[in-house]
Symmetry: D2
Subunit: 258 residues, 4 copies
Amino acid sequence: MDDEPIHVTVWGEYRHEQSHATVANIYPDGMHAAIATGLRQDLGETVEVGTATLDEPEHGLTQKVLDRTDVLTWWGHAAHHEVADDVVDRVQKRVLEGMGLLVLHSAHYSKIFRRLMGTECGLRWREAAERELLWCVNPGHPIADGLGEYFELPHVEMYGEQFQIPPPDELVFISWFEGGEVFRSGCTWTRGKGKIFYFRPGHETFPIYHDVNVRRVLANGVRWAAPSSSAIYASGGRNITTPLAPITGDHEVDTSLH
Amino acid sequence: MDDEPIHVTVWGEYRHEQSHATVANIYPDGMHAAIATGLRQDLGETVEVGTATLDEPEHGLTQKVLDRTDVLTWWGHAAHHEVADDVVDRVQKRVLEGMGLLVLHSAHYSKIFRRLMGTECGLRWREAAERELLWCVNPGHPIADGLGEYFELPHVEMYGEQFQIPPPDELVFISWFEGGEVFRSGCTWTRGKGKIFYFRPGHETFPIYHDVNVRRVLANGVRWAAPSSSAIYASGGRNITTPLAPITGDHEVDTSLH
Amino acid sequence: MDDEPIHVTVWGEYRHEQSHATVANIYPDGMHAAIATGLRQDLGETVEVGTATLDEPEHGLTQKVLDRTDVLTWWGHAAHHEVADDVVDRVQKRVLEGMGLLVLHSAHYSKIFRRLMGTECGLRWREAAERELLWCVNPGHPIADGLGEYFELPHVEMYGEQFQIPPPDELVFISWFEGGEVFRSGCTWTRGKGKIFYFRPGHETFPIYHDVNVRRVLANGVRWAAPSSSAIYASGGRNITTPLAPITGDHEVDTSLH
Amino acid sequence: MDDEPIHVTVWGEYRHEQSHATVANIYPDGMHAAIATGLRQDLGETVEVGTATLDEPEHGLTQKVLDRTDVLTWWGHAAHHEVADDVVDRVQKRVLEGMGLLVLHSAHYSKIFRRLMGTECGLRWREAAERELLWCVNPGHPIADGLGEYFELPHVEMYGEQFQIPPPDELVFISWFEGGEVFRSGCTWTRGKGKIFYFRPGHETFPIYHDVNVRRVLANGVRWAAPSSSAIYASGGRNITTPLAPITGDHEVDTSLH
């Protein structure tokens, strides 16, 4: 297991980069390409990184691609509704089986995140290029590896509470914004065997994915979310008629309902 | 708030009771009627209990009914797929707004529970009329009020791990089964403002809902799940352009993407 | 249970109020008196509120007082080390048995809080009369009842992360501070049957306990932390030689070690 | 970091093995030696394993030993009270700084575990050589790696609920016992930067530490609990007078209390 690289698929909506010069200037090959490059540079031989985008057939997420993906990262913004439901089904199933999922920035409103959370995942936002400080509240967590007490992003889109998510299993970062808001910016959940990490930074009009700390967190997130257990995931309804220990009752059972 | 009764709606699939003599003998008016009667007896003036069933128009869960419901209890088994998706949408929305939800026994596979959990909610089961001991592992929880270290059900359908749910916020009961399995039988989650309680006991061919301890837990669950906060639930995406604190940055913002 | 008032004991160090004019001006009868008055006004007949202070015999927390206390609130600052260990033992035991505990502001460093948490409970602080916004991230929680998305305190002592506590069971408030920090300001834990609520605001040189929202949270906290379950708390090591189900093994047991 | 082995110290009380023939027959060199051998065999070059026992000077846990320990495993039973408080202080400090801790079987009553939990950590027990089935309820957790839905121990001392611990951060195993009890047998917590894993199996009169699944779990536990983050752990009270963002208030601050 230790010698096999982590197979990462970086998914991007890849629309703004083609339609808006501001975005294209920052991310000439797309945000997904910048994220993929960052992971390759930070994680080296320990990862094998591919990309996939919305406008590819099946959004680039065929069963074959997903089957060999250990960790999927997801960035979407304006076209969440264009993601096909059967692809969402497929991704959800793979997460439950153990594929890691990194949900980035505006993907808080993606179909797959809302599906896995069961809530609406709304939030408060403002686009004013304001300052953000991300405080680490769980320094022993592998996702925090290498960081200080906080790190700073000078100009960001603000996301503020209430963030309508289920209580995270683990809270790693809390953001402070110049304009007065706070946000649970680094949150983890387990669904089935899959590990999910939501990470807030990442707006398309700021060079967030070139920031060294953001890249570090993404690299840490990939390593953390990679499958780390081969234990059996017992799936579906299982009618186990033979007990493991003797049942001594003499009660009559009406099984006609099944 | 304290003088207003808790408005409870007991929802039942109400099919087995009409098609199977075994079930009809135990629950002549339906399981939902037995549950409703139990709540009325245990909680008296503090609740107002109505019922709704699958074959009523809109399954008895019109917007009007849901709007006045504080706590909804849900029992389904063989006809989960017959529940209309727009009713599920409506119930989910009300839970997020604060309506409590008690998910009973085979409703682990209901659309609404799977929707709110984001997982498949499968489990291991066996119909052998075996013995169950329910151990209380969280004695300070209001749902455990009045109980001992454990209580017993002499003849039950077994549900065993792995139960494919997200880690519960709180674990109240763990079941022991004669045949060798264990189960997280009393679990709570928060989704939006809503409190959710899953409670395992309740098979249609055993008189579970006449059991004094089961009824006690249901009554406790209703009281626990009833809305207890009038705080604002900030819903949807909120574009808040006016900050609460001054933003001093001079960065130019490209808002053309919104 | 419903007609009996909640018996609250408000504990205060009560030293600064006697030695510093600034504090005495804000709290002429002590902070504990202001807190007690607030609870009586907000909760009326549903509570019976007493007070106790450090310099009373046994710090006012005799076994008799604790035995009739449902919820204890604790404010200390400069004299944590003067609290006798046997009183701390006594309070801890009562919490495990079900007494609620509200830990206020600088009591983060109290012996009882550190004892119950198992961590050092340190934090970052600054006394600059800066602005604080407290954001509610769990609006369905009873402690948030009656609040908006956030509330404001104009001049406070800052407490910032990292706050060295165990991950809270529930996170209710996150604070934003003018100077750049954030803080988990409203946290709950369960220890034994007891419910614990840490609430950040409360410095002695600001009139925090006269603030309407702070008082509301304290009142909500008292109601939430009050015992709500009479279930058995099984305490100590219990050698239960008689099994509940037959043990069929024929293995020889060497019990000479006990 | 990846090439450096994990430094493990296996601590054992090492008394029963010297005083009781039954125990000596199973563990001729002590339980700690059997545990250490198991870890070396399962983890090979990735660990460096030492041992320490109660009757060594400072219980073998000098500051020097602890400073180079990444993961400490702890087994004690009859002599918990003989462990010196200053050694407990030292171990606690190292856990908060990031050292992993595996708490084994009867060490539920050790000073260090009770210190870190803040509760009494009692449980129900019976020595009847009964059968135990350990069910995995969190198959994606690294501690479950390689396991099936459950594994079996044919003859064990029973530990039953209520187990008086704080709600675990993660629940990995639940045990079923022949005599009717259940138990949260695999639990994790975070305290400071340190990861703590309690694992139930391990009585001195049964060859538990020779069992292949138990050894697997211990090896998994060591890998999971090893430090995985170099992030800053901000310790103690920190008076940070210089803010990160401008404070514009004109309120006068009385700092005479500090």
